[in-house]
Amino acid sequence: MALPGTQGPRAVQVTREEVERFCDFLYRRTGMSFTEGKRYYIDRRLAERIAATGSTSFQSYFAILRSDAHDEIERVVNAFTVNETYFYREDHQLRCMTSNLLDEVIRGKRTGEPIRIWSIPCSTGEEPYSIAMWLMENWKQVDQYDIEIVGSDIDTRALDTATNGVYGDRSLMRLSRDLIDRYFAPAPPDGHRIDAGLRNSIRFTRANLIEVKDMAHYRDFDIVFCRNVLIYFDDSSRRIAAENLYDCLRPGGYICLGHSETMSRISPLFQVCRFSDAIVYQRPEVDHGQL
């Protein structure tokens, strides 16, 4: 196979076995599982990385990747992640948070203890900012508690965008004019920059959901939003991610998945909680040793 779009007069030739080798490496490092059905997606991004590194063969590119020269692993991860999202996406879960989950969370809080909410993967930041905006707009007790919101993603380029906080019209398509006027300022030529107070309130960090040691730094969250990422993982990576998320939650903490995802088919570690606005999953308060 000749990969399209590569530098020089001749395209770099990559065999099927080499693509498999590349995918295996990517899987081992990130949990992202790409099968033959996504061949075009893989070929295109692999070609871009081979060209960008000036490699003249797959072998020379793979050597760069394995040695992580010039942060190539991070660059390839950035190239393979999907960052399509928007503000107030799947807002029924945000409604569930303010209608049900937070009532349960604050019941177990000591005075002065913060509420901790995690958005992983947070992509370019729309989700953690949405959580903050939703709380400001819809939770009457918002000023009575310290609320810590963390946004994490494996893609550092996406995190830079999140920190910068400038978005196009497409990201804001679900927001009312009133919300846009109150939380955003024009960012020429045609963007919208989120309010500095919100920008400075959310911590953005790099985290790999399937890396046990990486995730060990995140603990005691009350609510985790982990939406539309597990569908990209294979069975064992999903289980690793589920176990990592279990450890990141406080006992009794909640996890919100994407609308097409269900923890029941991934891991028995969590209890299903059915609320009027959403189905979420809860880390049991007590480990009885029996799932």
Binding site: E148, D214, R239
Partner: protein, 206 residues
């Protein structure tokens, strides 16, 4: 604004040192289930941990920890981890059997060399579970293995399990074997019915 931000530095993940590895292996034998859970989780993907993980799986009573051990073996995903998991197909504990099936189904390439023997096992329960392991194999290979079983299998429940899998993943090559199986078990009405249903599904008529 009610939001607080803590700028705790988060160090990047590093590989396990030899001492850490030994500590996690030792933790598998701890009395504290939390320590065993952490040990198993830290060993996910470490090929040299297969043997101690397999030993731990055999004695682990806490189902949450057992889940973590199974995940660790799945993540290692080599022939040794398959060898460690296969014996649990014979377990008297339904939870252990289900966990082993789930883990082995996720390793179709690695379980494949073991399937011929498992489908010929002397225990019909193991043969039934082995048909489930064929479900995630490439269709042609699953068809070949299950047709080989169906053509000689005497136990109707094993045949029923194989037909169920073939109905989902079988190719046209399975049709004559299914027809023959239906005739062979004519006195067990369910099997000719199931075989006919599978043939219809494989032919696109179901």
């Amino acid at each position: 604004m009610p939001f607080v931000k803590r700028d705790t530095a988060i160090p990047s993940a590093a590989a396990l040192s030899a001492d850490e590895f030994a500590a996690h292996i030792a933790a598998l034998g701890s009395r504290d289930p939390e320590a065993r859970w952490r040990g198993a989780r830290a060993l996910a993907g470490r090929a040299e941990a297969v043997a101690p993980l397999a030993v731990a799986l055999g004695v682990e009573a806490n189902s949450r920890v057992r889940e973590a051990i199974i995940t660790a073996l799945m993540r290692i995903g080599n022939a040794a981890s398959v060898v460690a998991l296969v014996p649990y197909l014979r377990s008297q504990d339904a939870g252990q059997r289900a966990a082993a099936i789930e883990a082995l189904q996720a390793l179709p390439r690695e379980i494949s060399p073991f399937l011929t023997a498992l489908l010929a096992d002397g225990d019909s329960d193991v043969r039934i579970l082995a048909t489930e392991l064929a479900r995630n194999l490439p269709a042609a290979e699953a068809t070949r293995l299950l047709c080989g079983l169906l053509s000689v299998e005497a136990h109707p429940n094993v045949c029923a399990a194989a037909i169920d899998v073939l109905a989902e993943v079988g190719t046209d090559d399975a049709i004559p074997v299914l027809e023959q199986c239906g005739r062979r078990f004519a006195s067990t009405p369910f099997l000719p019915f199931a075989a006919a249903k599978a043939i219809a599904l494989i032919s696109g008529e179901g």
